[in-house]
C-alpha cells in the first residue's frame, strides 16, 4: 500500500515524491543463529541444513557460516536417525540417506555454539500439479505474466503450498505461497503473487515451476515472512521477525515437503 500511496500522490497530483539514501544510526545486535533446513521426497535432493549467522546492518552482505555443528534428523515413525555432515567449512550440512515419506514426522536437532536447536515437521499429503497456465495482465503499462498453478485442492483445510520458479534454469528468489484456507477443495485459479524479488519473463523463455506441498510450520514461517515484513518492501507498521518453527533460539525454518515440477515455454 505504501508504494501505491506514493504513486498516487506523485503521479496523479502532478507532484514528485523524492527518494534518497540516508545515513541512519541503527543499533548493533548479537550475531543470531540462522537455520535453513529442508527434507524432500526427491531422492536426488534429500536433506540439507544451512547454518549461518546474522550481521549488523552496516556490515557487508556476507553471512558467516557456522561450522562444526552436530546435525541429525530422526524419523519419528521408524526411529531411524541420520547424521548430516558438513561440506568443508561451508556451514552446509548434507549427505543424508533420508527421503521424506508422506505422513511421517521428522525431528531435527542441531547442536551449535553451545545451543541445542530442535524442530519437528510432518510431511503433508501430496497434491498433484496438473499443469501451469500463463495469463497476461496490464498493470501500470507493464504487461505482466501471471502464473496459475493448476491443481485440485483436496477436501479438508490444511494443505499448504510453496512454489519455486525457475526461468531458463535460473532459480528465482520470489517467495510464492498458497494455502486452502479460503478455497478448500477448489480447483486452483489463483495466480502466484510474488511479494519478494521480481520477474522479467520474455517470450521464448522456459519456465519451470516446482510445487512443494509443505508442512504447516514452515508455511506459517513463509506466511509471516511475507505478511509481517522481515523482507524488503515491507509496509507493515509493526514489522517483525517471521515466526520460526525452530525451538531453542534461532532464526529460520525447517521444512519437509513433497515436490513435483512442470515446465512450459512462454508464447
Amino acid at each position: 500500500m505504501n508504494k501505491l500511496a506514493i504513486f498516487l500522490a506523485a503521479s496523479t497530483l502532478l507532484l514528485s515524491s523524492c527518494e534518497k539514501v540516508i545515513e541512519l544510526d541503527l543499533n548493533n545486535s548479537d550475531p543470531q543463529i540462522v537455520v535453513e533446513a529442508w527434507l524432500s521426497d526427491d531422492p536426488s535432493e534429500r536433506a540439507q541444513v544451512w547454518l549461518s549467522q546474522s550481521v549488523n546492518f552496516d556490515q557487508s552482505n556476507t553471512y558467516p557460516p557456522l561450522s562444526n555443528a552436530t546435525v541429525f534428523i530422526k524419523n519419528r515413525t521408524t526411529g531411524e536417525v541420520d547424521t548430516l555432515k558438513e561440506v568443508g567449512n561451508s556451514g552446509i550440512y548434507g549427505g543424508s540417506k533420508l527421503v521424506a515419506q508422506v505422513g511421517q514426522t521428522y525431528d531435527l536437532t542441531v547442536n551449535v555454539k553451545g545451543k541445542t536447536l530442535t524442530s519437528s515437521a510432518t510431511v503433508p499429503r501430496k497434491v498433484n500439479l496438473d499443469s501451469i497456465r500463463l495469463t497476461r495482465t496490464t498493470f501500470f503499462g507493464n504487461e505482466n505474466l501471471q502464473i496459475v498453478p493448476r491443481y485440485l485442492d483436496p477436501k479438508g483445510i490444511g494443505d499448504n503450498y510453496r512454489f519455486v520458479l525457475s526461468v531458463n534454469g535460473n532459480k528465482k528468489t520470489d517467495l510464492l505461497i498458497q494455502n486452502d484456507a479460503l478455497s478448500d477443495g477448489a480447483y486452483n485459479a489463483r495466480p502466484l503473487f510474488g511479494r519478494m524479488g521480481d520477474n522479467d519473463i520474455k517470450i521464448g523463455d522456459t519456465l519451470s515451476l516446482e510445487m512443494r506441498c509443505i508442512d504447516a510450520g514452515s508455511y506459517f514461517y513463509f506466511d509471516t515472512l511475507s505478511e509481517g515484513g522481515g523482507g524488503p518492501n515491507s509496509s507493515s507498521a509493526t514489522p517483525t521477525n517471521p515466526v520460526s518453527n525452530i525451538k531453542g533460539g534461532a532464526l529460520g525454518y525447517f521444512s519437509v515437503y513433497t515436490k513435483q515440477v512442470k515446465s512450459t515455454i512462454v508464447k
Partner: protein
C-alpha cells in the same frame, strides 16, 4: 457500597428539580439576522448581573429560569452586535432573537465563536472549538481547507503523517476518535488515502473537539469526540457559493423553501485529479480513474413554534481504478432524521434516527476471471435526549442511545464469466447492539464554581447469527461456537462516571479539573504505515473486550488584555485497558478468526498542553505546544515491558498567524515542528531463502526523524458587488521545501550489491495552489 453511593448521589442531584416556585422561564432561539441560521453557543445574560446567564445549545435554543421580575437581557455572539431586550417575567415568555453581524467583522478575523471569557468559566476542559471562518484563512495542502487538518494545529492533537487528515488525540489511536457528522458516526473520515477529509468545510457550521473529558451524552470512543454540525441552510434568502481550485471544485446552494419556516442546503464537491490523467497520451495513465466526490444535503422545517424537523445526509465516494484490471471504490453514507421539540419553557427534547454506512468494493479482473471483495459496516442508531433548564444554575441532559452494528468483513466472491475458479466461503458477519443511558448536569455554585457531572451506563451485546471462536494463549482456535441469530453471545456492561469542574479565581483566571471514564467497543485494525480504505473494523466479541480509558486532567486558564489573549495549560494522565496490538506477522486481511492475530494489554498516556491564543485584532493566531508520551504493555511484545505506542512522540509545536493587511488582503502562515514517532527498524540482517531479511530486536524501538514545515497563504478579496463577493486564495505548502520523511525503508544497495542501505521517501516539497471562491 459503590452502588449505594451512586444512588444517593443521583437522589441529591434530582432534588434540584423539586423546588421551583414563583419562577418563570424565558426561552427561545438566537438566530443570525441575515441567514436565519441558529447560533450555537450564543450567550444570554442579565445586564445587571452578568454572571447569571446561559448559552444556546447546539440547536440555538436557550432557556433561563428566574424569579418573577423585570430583567434586561443581553444577547451576545462574537462578531455580532450585542442585542439588549427587556422582559417582564410574570409568566413564562418565549423570546426569539435575531442578531446581526457587526460591520467590523469584515475587516477582522475572529477566532473564538463564543462569549469572550467563556473559556474561563465553563467547567468543560480539553475542549477545542473550531471556527469554520478560521479554517478558511489557514494555509493547507492543495489549498483544500479542511477541518481535520486545522485541528491538528491544536495542542494534544497530532497529525497521523504528512498531509494526512487522520489524527491522534492524547496518545490514542486514530480509531479512538468519535467523529460525528450531524450525530452520525463516520467510520472512515478520509478521502484519497488520507490526504483529504470527508468534511467539505463549506457545509459545516460548527465543530467541537473534546479531548477525553466529554460530558455523558457522548460515548463509544476512548480519546476524543469531534462533533461536527452541518449548516442548516439560509431560511431568508437564496444564496450560492462555491470555489474552483486546482484539484477540486465545489458548489453550495441554500435558501428558504418557505421563508422563515423551512430551508435547504445542498453542497457538492468533486476532485478532478484524473482529468489530468486523461490529458496524457500514455495509455497506462489515461486509462486510470482516481477521484472522489462528496454530497451534503440538509432540509430543515419548522412544523410549529415548538417543533422542528431536520433531515440531513452525507454521501461520499472514492473511485480508484487501473484500467480494467483493478478497481476499488469506497465511501461513507450517513443520514440523520431529527425532531426537536420544546415541551415547555424549560424542557427541550431531541429525537434522532441515524443511519451510517461505510463500505468498500474491490474488483479484480483478468481475462474472464473476476473477483470481488466487499466489506461493509452499517449502523442504525436511535437517540433520545432531553435538556432540562432547571434554573440558571442547573441544566440537565439525560437520555438514551441504541445502535445496531452490522459488520461484513472483506468477503471474496468469484464472478468469473467462464465459471472457473474457486468459490470462497463467506467470512463471519458480526452483529452487535450498543446501548447507553445517561444523565448529566451542568451546575453553577455561587459565582466561582461550575461543575459538569454525570453518569453513562453503556451496555454492549455481542449478537449471534455467526460463528465465534475460543482461542488459546498462543492464538490457536480451540473451539468453534455456533450461535443462533438473535441470541446473545456476550454482554459487557460499563459504568462511566464523568466529572469536570472550574473554579474561577479572578474574573480572568480559573483552575479546572476533570475525570472521565470512556469505553470503546468498535476497534479498527490497521497494520500498514498509511491509511487504507481496507482497514478493518471489528466489534467487541467473546475474545475482544471493550477498551476502557480513565483520564484525569487539571488545567490553568487565564485571559489577558480584556480577553484579547487566552492562555491555557492542561496536564492529563490516562490509563487504558484492553488495548489491541498485533501478533508477530499478523494477517489482518482475509482472516475469519481475526482474534487469533491480536494481542491485548494495557496502555498509559500522559502529557502537558499549552495554548496561547490571540483572538482579535488585525493580527491573531496561536502557539500550541504538546509534551506527551503514550505507551503500551502487552504480553508477547518486547518481552512484556512498556514500549512506546506507534503514535508516541515527545514534542509538538504549532504556530499559526493570520494578518489582515488591509481590507483586500489577508495573510496566513503556519509552522509545525514535531519529533519523530516511534517506529520499528532492524538491528541486523541475515540470509534465508536467498533473500536478505532484516533482524528485528524490538517493536517501536526507533524514532522517525523530526518533522518541520512552514505553509503560507494569502487571500485577495476581489471587488465586491451589491450581492456578489469573490476572492482568490493562494497558498504554498512546505515553503522552504523540507524533505520530511514519509517512510524509511531498507534495501540492498543499488550501487554496491554487497551492501544494504537506508532509503528515505519524502512526499511533498513546495506545493503551490490557487483557488477562486465566490458567494452571492
Amino acid at each position: 457500597m459503590k452502588r449505594q453511593i451512586h444512588l444517593s448521589l443521583l437522589f441529591v442531584l434530582f432534588a434540584h428539580f423539586l423546588h421551583a416556585q414563583e419562577r418563570f422561564s424565558v426561552s427561545g432561539a438566537v438566530k443570525d439576522a441575515k441567514t436565519g441560521e441558529e447560533l450555537i453557543g450564543a450567550s444570554v445574560r442579565l445586564k445587571d448581573k452578568p454572571t447569571v446567564g446561559t448559552l444556546t445549545n447546539e440547536y440555538g435554543f436557550y432557556s433561563l429560569t428566574l424569579e418573577k421580575g423585570t430583567y434586561t437581557l443581553l444577547f451576545d455572539f462574537i462578531g455580532y452586535n450585542q442585542v439588549e431586550k427587556t422582559v417582564v417575567l410574570d409568566k413564562n415568555q418565549k423570546f426569539d432573537v435575531s442578531i446581526g453581524e457587526t460591520a467590523k467583522q469584515l475587516s477582522e478575523v475572529v477566532i473564538s465563536a463564543k462569549k469572550a471569557d467563556e473559556n474561563i468559566r465553563t467547567a468543560q476542559m480539553g475542549v477545542e472549538k473550531i471556527d469554520v471562518k478560521d479554517v478558511a484563512k489557514i494555509p493547507v495542502l492543495f489549498g483544500e481547507k479542511d477541518i481535520l487538518k486545522t485541528i491538528q494545529l491544536l495542542p494534544g492533537v497530532k497529525s497521523a503523517g504528512e498531509g494526512q487528515s487522520g489524527f491522534y488525540v492524547r496518545g490514542g489511536a486514530v480509531d479512538q476518535n468519535l467523529i460525528l457528522l450531524d450525530e452520525a458516526p463516520v467510520y472512515n473520515a478520509n478521502h484519497l488515502l488520507g490526504f483529504f477529509s470527508t468534511f467539505n468545510s463549506d457545509a459545516i457550521k460548527d465543530a467541537t473537539l473534546v479531548k477525553g473529558n466529554a460530558p455523558p451524552q457522548y460515548g463509544g470512543r476512548l480519546s476524543s469526540v469531534l462533533d461536527i454540525k452541518m449548516n442548516e441552510g439560509n431560511n431568508q434568502d437564496f444564496g450560492a457559493s462555491g470555489g474552483i481550485g486546482l484539484i477540486s471544485s465545489k458548489l453550495n446552494l441554500e435558501g428558504p423553501i418557505q421563508k422563515d419556516k423551512s430551508s435547504f442546503l445542498l453542497t457538492g464537491r468533486r476532485t478532478y485529479a484524473d482529468a489530468f490523467l486523461k490529458l496524457s497520451n500514455d495509455s497506462t495513465l489515461n486509462n486510470n480513474t482516481l477521484y472522489f466526490y462528496d454530497l451534503n444535503a440538509k432540509v430543515n422545517y419548522k412544523l410549529s413554534s415548538k417543533d422542528r424537523l431536520f433531515l440531513s445526509g452525507y454521501f461520499g465516494r472514492d473511485k480508484l481504478g487501473f484500467g480494467d484490471v483493478f478497481g476499488i471504490d469506497w465511501g461513507n453514507a450517513t443520514g440523520t432524521a431529527r425532531w426537536n421539540h420544546v415541551w415547555n419553557d424549560r424542557l427541550f427534547s431531541n429525537t434522532s434516527l441515524i443511519y451510517s454506512n461505510y463500505d468498500y468494493k474491490i474488483k479484480i479482473s483478468q481475462n474472464s476471471t473476476n473477483f470481488n471483495i466487499t466489506s461493509q459496516i452499517e449502523d442504525w442508531n436511535l437517540k433520545q435526549e432531553f435538556q432540562f433548564f432547571s434554573n440558571p444554575n442547573n441544566s440537565w441532559r439525560f437520555g438514551f442511545n441504541v445502535i445496531h452494528h452490522d459488520i461484513v468483513p472483506g468477503n471474496i466472491t468469484n464472478e468469473s464469466t467462464d465459471g472457473s475458479g474457486p468459490t470462497f466461503g463467506d467470512l463471519q458477519k458480526r452483529q452487535s447492539l450498543e446501548s447507553a443511558i445517561y444523565a448529566g448536569n451542568n451546575q453553577k455554585i455561587g459565582d466561582k464554581l461550575e461543575l459538569n457531572y454525570g453518569l453513562r451506563l453503556s451496555v454492549f451485546n455481542v449478537l449471534g447469527g455467526s460463528n465465534y471462536y475460543n482461542i488459546d494463549t498462543k492464538g490457536n482456535i480451540t473451539d468453534t461456537l455456533d450461535y443462533a441469530k438473535g441470541s446473545i453471545v456476550k454482554t459487557y456492561i460499563n459504568l462511566e462516571p464523568r466529572l469536570s469542574l472550574a473554579y474561577t479565581l479572578t474574573p480572568s483566571v480559573s483552575l479546572k479539573a476533570a475525570y472521565a471514564r470512556n469505553t470503546q467497543n468498535m476497534h479498527l485494525l490497521t497494520n500498514s504505515t498509511t491509511t487504507s480504505p481496507t482497514d478493518r473494523w471489528v466489534s467487541s466479541s467473546n475474545i475482544i473486550k471493550p477498551e476502557i480509558a480513565d483520564q484525569f486532567s487539571i488545567g490553568y486558564f487565564q485571559n489577558f488584555a480584556d480577553n484579547k489573549y487566552e492562555l491555557s495549560l492542561e496536564a492529563y494522565y490516562k490509563t487504558m485497558q484492553n488495548q489491541v496490538d498485533y501478533r508477530d506477522g499478523a494477517n489482518l486481511r482475509v482472516n475469519d478468526a481475526v482474534e487469533t492475530e491480536l494481542l491485548f494489554g494495557k496502555g498509559r498516556a500522559y502529557g502537558l498542553e499549552l495554548l496561547l491564543k490571540k483572538k482579535s485584532g488585525k493580527f491573531n493566531g496561536w502557539i500550541s505546544y504538546t509534551l506527551a508520551r503514550s505507551e503500551r504493555q502487552l504480553d508477547g511484545v518486547n518481552g512484556g515491558s512498556w514500549y512506546p505506542a506507534r503514535q508516541d512522540r515527545m514534542h509538538d509545536i504549532a504556530v499559526v498567524g493570520i494578518y489582515q493587511l488591509n481590507p483586500k488582503w489577508t495573510l496566513g502562515a503556519t509552522w509545525v515542528y514535531y519529533t519523530g514517532n516511534a517506529v520499528t527498524f532492524p538491528s541486523g540482517k541475515y540470509n534465508v531463502a536467498d533473500q536478505i531479511l532484516w533482524y528485528y530486536t524490538e517493536r517501536n524501538g526507533y524514532r522517525m526523524p523530526a518533522y518541520h514545515r512552514m505553509d503560507l497563504s494569502a487571500t485577495w478579496q476581489l471587488k465586491k458587488g451589491k450581492r456578489w463577493e469573490s476572492e482568490l486564495a493562494f497558498s504554498i505548502y512546505n515553503v522552504y521545501g523540507r524533505e520530511n520523511a514519509y517512510s524509511i525503508n531498507f534495501r540492498q544497495s543499488e550501487t554496491d550489491p554487497t551492501k544494504t542501505e537506508v532509503v528515505q521517501t519524502a512526499l511533498f516539497k513546495q506545493v503551490p495552489s490557487i483557488s477562486y471562491n465566490f458567494k452571492f
